[in-house]
Symmetry: C2
């Protein structure tokens, strides 16, 4: 049985970045830039005031205080139609272009307006360039402002707009097929009979794939018979990433893994020293699609997704860092790990004062989705530790949910 | 001039949660539950094994070790067709239902299989209920498992599926109209002439609104003339939330604010002691739409969105907590704040060892989107502090981008 770290290393080593595609700027957020992007203009495109105040010729105010004639007002977004002559100033707002002739800005707090006289008294001298961002000082035309591999945050979307990128080269987002397996599964709208449960894994994984930036597609529920399974799995292998749940634990394992093999897939591992989630088949189809056979127990399936599948999706999408956000946190109560495996306990983590605190939830196991639904993170108990004590520092894997609950 | 905190309090006080709507389960992730949700089934719906091992009658193994006949195998997702008679055991997997007659599970590590004899030796005794989640022990039929106000994480989506909620009552996501204003603005696809810049604010805000869970709609660019502005602003007032950029700083302010007033809007404030972003008009239309007139400088517009608009959107969407994620971090280098305002400096924050570190970026001001695009957070310098020193503890507002860069 391999460790979680070994499984992750294998999974990432076998995963390739997806090809590059051009997407419209408005659809680019959340993706990763596939090429260096240069600006086609100087930024700023003019000498720009970084303060509200008065644009001046610095030589005019060398011996401050000095009174200047106010010959104009330049709000941000305007362009001055005049140039500054000796003895003149112009009222200017943050972000506005300096008028020709001006070489500095004095902030409004160090001036006294004489509006009745269309004049201003500059109370302190300025040196050339004071409170001015020179033309091209943020970036020169042709300069790379965003490197390949940059995450496209809203701020990056804005920068791409400013430099004229209406279409953006990004790594393709993976199309992810999701298949549930098991004779016991019924639809959400059905009332389960004795021994039946509703298919919930498909819905959880759909939301996880979307949260991770992928394009999920539900492929239904396969019955536990070889024909149905084989047909549906063959469908799933068309996707960049195929996730099947169920049919991988002892006694059933043969079925799903055997069909993967029959269909020409290469199997990389089928068991991990991880709790929850020991039985996990990772494979690759002949055409290059990545495959995970996840456990059927819902907490196991969702946890293995976070621990292994999300990093794989990040690599596909071109992220430079694959791993989820890990932090150290102070444990608030004792925790016992008798599994002999690395234990990913559903937990609530919060930041208080200067540190993170983490409370592992009292879960009734890998079927307990009522408790799991309250978590925003996993407390990781190392394989060799059986008893963690309050106030210990423990590693926590944050989920994006941390931002919202 | 009011403080950021006062502005936030006013903005939130004036904001109402949006009405409730039913959305399909697959579209519910990221939203907030508007009603308590009860389960329509017992969870688990049967006594469930929480271990891989052997289901037994505990009285049979009171004097362990004890040998039992193995009469069946119960994988997760199956339902046993037999019941356990005295002297019998059944091999059972985590998550599987106990057969009638069994009252406990002994974990596989404390057993020795005798497969040739269809028997198992149970090495240690168990008490009734050991390693079993009783029927209904996670939740009884009719019990509320998700309270109104719960964030719908992928785990919650799974739970909703399990309890039969194919449609989910959530607070409506705000429809957000986005209008840029300014004669100087040209399209992303155009090459700016002298004094022109490309409209980037609309794109940044579009991505921010979507990241915050809203439904953005671009309303184009308004010229700086009263007719055009008035028509487009009147359009914008139809939305749950209307964001205009530009036209609010000194000298231009009258125009946008005056039109808001002309159109029957109530103005709550028009200036905040915040850097960047002093000129901000907040208002409400006669029909109840919330309105922000944001500065035209791009770093100001995006920052005011994070500080004021995102919390307002969270309240509209029913989140119990409106504020963004704040942490304390150790400053890595000196920082100067001469603005006399609360300073939101674009920063890179990361977690290292046991703490957050934050490095404010060397920004050239509220127009410097090249630098801003590298940030994942804001370092907040209080209004009364002019010089922050390395190793000081400072407050940082994390953006969701923190998870990705």
């Amino acid at each position: 049985m391999i460790s979680v770290l070994e499984a992750l290393e294998i999974a990432l080593r076998q995963t390739k970045r997806l090809p590059v595609e051009l997407v419209p700027l408005l659809e680019s957020a959340g993706r990763v830039l596939a090429e260096d992007v240069a600006t086609d203009i100087d930024m700023p495109p003019f000498p720009r005031s970084s303060m509200d105040g008065y644009a001046v010729r610095s030589e005019d105010v060398r011996n401050a205080p000095a009174q200047l004639a106010v010959v104009g007002f330049i709000p941000a977004g305007s362009y001055p139609s005049f140039s500054l002559q000796p003895g003149q100033a112009a009222k200017i707002m943050t972000g506005a272009p300096l008028p020709p002739g001006a070489d500095a800005v004095q902030m409004v707090e160090k001036t006294r307006a004489r509006e009745e006289a269309a004049a201003v008294e500059i109370l302190e001298s300025v040196t050339p360039g004071n409170n001015v961002s020179p033309l091209g000082s943020e970036a020169h035309q042709g300069e790379v402002v965003l490197p390949a591999g940059a995450f496209i945050s809203p701020g990056v979307v804005g920068l791409l707009a400013a430099i004229g990128k209406s279409e953006v080269p990004v790594y393709r987002a993976p199309a992810v097929g999701i298949l549930a397996t098991g004779d016991e599964l019924v639809e959400v709208t059905a009332k389960p009979a004795l021994g039946q449960i509703r298919n919930s894994n498909s819905f959880t994984l759909f939301a996880q794939v979307r949260q991770a930036g992928g394009k999920p597609q539900l492929l239904g529920v396969a019955k536990d018979n070889k024909n149905d399974l084989r047909n549906r799995i063959a469908d799933g292998l068309q996707y960049d990433l195929f996730l099947a749940t169920g049919g991988v634990s002892m006694g059933e394992l043969d079925l799903v893994e055997e069909i993967f093999t029959d269909l020409g897939c290469e199997i990389f591992f089928n068991k991990i020293a991880m709790k929850p989630g020991k039985p996990v088949v990772m494979a690759r189809s002949a055409s290059g699609g990545m495959i995970f056979g996840l456990p059927g127990n819902p907490v196991s399936a969702t946890t293995v997704f976070e621990v292994l599948v999300r990093p794989v999706m990040r690599k596909m999408m071109g992220f430079p860092v694959y791993q989820n956000q890990m932090v150290l946190a102070t444990l608030t109560e004792p925790f016992t790990n008798r599994s002999g495996r690395e234990n990913y306990a559903p937990a609530v983590t919060w930041f208080e004062e200067k540190r993170f605190l983490v409370r592992p939830l009292k879960s009734k196991g890998s079927g307990d989705i009522v408790t799991y639904a309250k978590s925003n993170s996993y407390m990781i108990c190392p394989i060799h530790r059986t008893d963690l004590l309050p106030k210990e520092q423990v590693v926590v894997m944050l989920r994006p949910d941390f931002f919202y609950c």
